[in-house]
Symmetry: C5
Subunit: 87 residues, 5 copies
């Protein structure tokens, strides 16, 4: 997983049926020093994350096999809200 | 998923039979500030995307398991047309 | 796999149920000359790794299929503690 | 998929049995402006690609599940010869 | 697959049981001009590769499904020894 910061969301009317009703958030990859990279992912939110929150981002088949029917177009999901880093 | 911009298409006569009849689009990865990266993907279009449109690009097994028979050569698909970003 | 150094941990209350009870460590990717990259992963610890230790990091479906029920949100795991490099 | 240019081939006597009899080509990743990146993949040729040709490169499980028995060591395959780009 | 050069090995006592008895080699990614990148992988050796040899490195599920029981922690394997490049 990677540490991300939610910076926005996507509005998409025409999309794969497996994405209908899902919240698509724009997540910027950051590190544990809160430095932003220039990499973004569009991830399905599964935990009610809001703009500005730090989240756990998972990718690949892990991102879609947490949904009841794994046959979907998802390759990135928000799977946790980060309360704090301990270093 | 990543945000992409459709910049062209590919003509290929000799190809894996699973790609026959599929539209192969050239997608440039961008971010939500509409800055282009230097990364391109050739993706199968599933939503009728046109040149210049902003799209959702999915990769890996997600890109091919949305097709009826998952036994194919696809590792990248366009799965949504982006209407707008909310930030 | 990649060589990593454990640099911290993540506290997350609200998360996918498959992550409940798992130790989520922040791992910085390093090379065999012990030079740090700027890449970090949040990985599930399976071997009792502590802060500062050098570890083996596995990613993708390998990271989650080592758990009894492969239906989970995990895409990175610590699967070994490195005693030494031989070069 | 990515756009590649075939720049050579690999001779390997001692290899996983799933690679025996397969043509292993060296493919340099390029973009649709024909600029070369510094990234190379060794890919199994499935379409009779020759040195200097532009090809479609697929990676990951897509690259190996197009073979009759998916239990093999392949993570990159050439799955099309590119006739032209339309931009 | 990528071209790699074996530069060392890893000693790890405490590790996932699926890695017990496996040779874990440090592989530096190179290109066909024998230029080294700064990327390393720790890969399971399946072909008896020695330090200094050029090898074929496969990653992802391909790296682990070549083992009798695919339920293991492996995401990178050495699957061939390179005799020569033809360019």
């Amino acid at each position: 997983m990677q540490i991300g910061k939610v910076v926005g969301s996507i509005v998409s009317t025409q999309k794969d049926e497996s994405l209908v009703g899902k919240k698509l958030m724009i997540v910027k990859i950051i590190n544990s020093d809160e430095q932003e990279s220039d990499r973004e992912e569009v991830a399905v939110d599964t935990v009610g994350a809001g703009i500005g929150e730090y989240v756990l981002l998972t990718r690949g088949s892990a991102a879609r096999n947490i949904f009841p029917n794994g046959v979907n177009a998802i390759d990135a999901s928000i799977v946790g809200i980060i309360d704090s880093f301990e270093k």
